[in-house]
Point group: C2
Chain length 365, copies 2
Amino acid sequence: MEDALADYLDEFTRRDWQTLDPDDVDDPVRVAVVGLGWFAREWALPGIARSAFTEATVVTDVDADAVETVAVEHDVRGVTPDELRSGAVADEYDAVYVATPNATHLVYVRAAAEQGKAILCEKPLEATVDRARELVAACRDADVPLMVGYRMQTDPAVRRLRDLLEAGFAGDVVHVHATMSQTMLGELGSDHDQWRLDPDLSGGCALMDIGVYPLNTTRFVLGSDPVRVSGRTRTEHEAFAGVDEHATFRLEYPGGVDAMCTVSQNAQHASRLEVTGTDARLILDPAFYEREDRGFAVVREGTRVDVDFDQVHQIEEEFAYFGHQLLAEEPFYPDGDHALGDMRVLDALYESAEMGRAVALGDDA
Amino acid sequence: MEDALADYLDEFTRRDWQTLDPDDVDDPVRVAVVGLGWFAREWALPGIARSAFTEATVVTDVDADAVETVAVEHDVRGVTPDELRSGAVADEYDAVYVATPNATHLVYVRAAAEQGKAILCEKPLEATVDRARELVAACRDADVPLMVGYRMQTDPAVRRLRDLLEAGFAGDVVHVHATMSQTMLGELGSDHDQWRLDPDLSGGCALMDIGVYPLNTTRFVLGSDPVRVSGRTRTEHEAFAGVDEHATFRLEYPGGVDAMCTVSQNAQHASRLEVTGTDARLILDPAFYEREDRGFAVVREGTRVDVDFDQVHQIEEEFAYFGHQLLAEEPFYPDGDHALGDMRVLDALYESAEMGRAVALGDDA
């Protein structure tokens, strides 16, 4: 099996989307970073800096102290959110990365679109489907490119897994398991990020914040969209009052392939995606968190091969793709319409949890 | 963590149920083996022989050639099914092990009960809930002890996992994943076992034959029963026409704990049980097949410990427990009523799959 695998997995971390030589890039895409929570500071800003195709030039946040600290640390221009939205320093950036609480994505994306800037918006796209639709429409109306921050889609391990599935290496996919959990209050810590507990700002917690990973990653690797879903949510602890602390869900893909998913904001850390086919199992474990090395295993004919590969900086890959596609004038795969698909499913999962029955995803759902 | 774990996992393979000294057993329980399919020949007969508390003395099967071969090989008495049922050699055995196609359990169990013999019946108990109820009633009416062949319940790895959960080592259980698959037609091979494809004989395929493992094992380790279930079945290949080739199901346990399960008779071999709690994850992988070593891993505070332990012969453990409890005049845990719980759930899963909605398990369901 190892020989056949090698054919697929040689140059594991290759960027199959890259046509421009990073060494030839003199003017990387200048990015304004909107929202300086834990992820933006610890991961996005370093990722933007590492990527040859991007550089951060402007930062903003509702927390003026955070803006000042980050501006000094990264030697970038710090502005107020009002200044960002008004376009006061619009000549200092080509693109806007929006990493604010979900319910505030729309206001920043709309402002950036009106400024004619390219946009990378974090997922989930907004706090509700309707607002997400408005967001996508704003970008379309302004004719600006919109990418959505599905960092799994530019992760080499996920792309190689998808390659193997597409090549039929696993035979027909039979079913999928995915689990992702963390002790959110312990692992993230900072109060700055606790907007996830406010349903008005987040639109939900375990499903919106974590469920989107198993959901979007299975959509990506299977190359199709769920047709019917069933979800259950549960809240045990006072800290999570008003939002979902835990969730389980089944995504029914075309052909009867079910993805059985669990997510939790308050459980022992777990991060695993397992695709079982008639001929092989493909396992990512760890799978989903930016802060862990990815594991990639293939089981075929009873033999398990743990693939040893160079770990990448996941957010560098994401921003490299973002910057590259803009410079190459190529479209994004995870665009607004793709992200709306997740929003519809998340909405259907909350509906399913409330109604106690499965919910079909109509063409126009 | 390893110190705390050691307290629970020392003497990993201890038989916590054993009070009799195997060396003191002069007269082991004499077992008549009914049904000489692959499992009985490859696993049950060797297990009975290895166990100090049991010995095989009589075998029967509808296949006279198999009877003759096995009788010679194991130096036991071979009889016809009629002879077994009529009690013609009833003085040569104390107990009857029934490993025939599901829909024929009842006839053999009833005969054995009428002979006053102790019974170990394979799971699932019968092909339908009604017949399973009749089976349990026959044993109760005859006042004979009935154990059901849940070999996972006497497996040390499963018992230690349950011990850890009971001791609160994992905190509160949040959710469970379980998967079990094989290429049935390839891995088992023998035509002798293909009754599993006949719905009249089996009552179903993927769910009945394999689904019972994730179902019963989660019941056992969680120490509770599902209150509501949702299942989906699917058949792709002609060989499985009339039965379920693949199935996925969600078992809703009290307190909102969901077990997300997948099983297949036609997928790459998989065998995994994963319990995620607020404080730890407990993983059996491989978990379910008699023909593989079990793996046992504990993840707590982000640290994974793979427990190294002596592998047991799983069927020896099962028969040792069966013989021991009879000799010690102690009851069985996996008894007929316990097994009826599985039958009700399996029935509800098929109903759920047919109706396309979750099914509640009533007290009297």
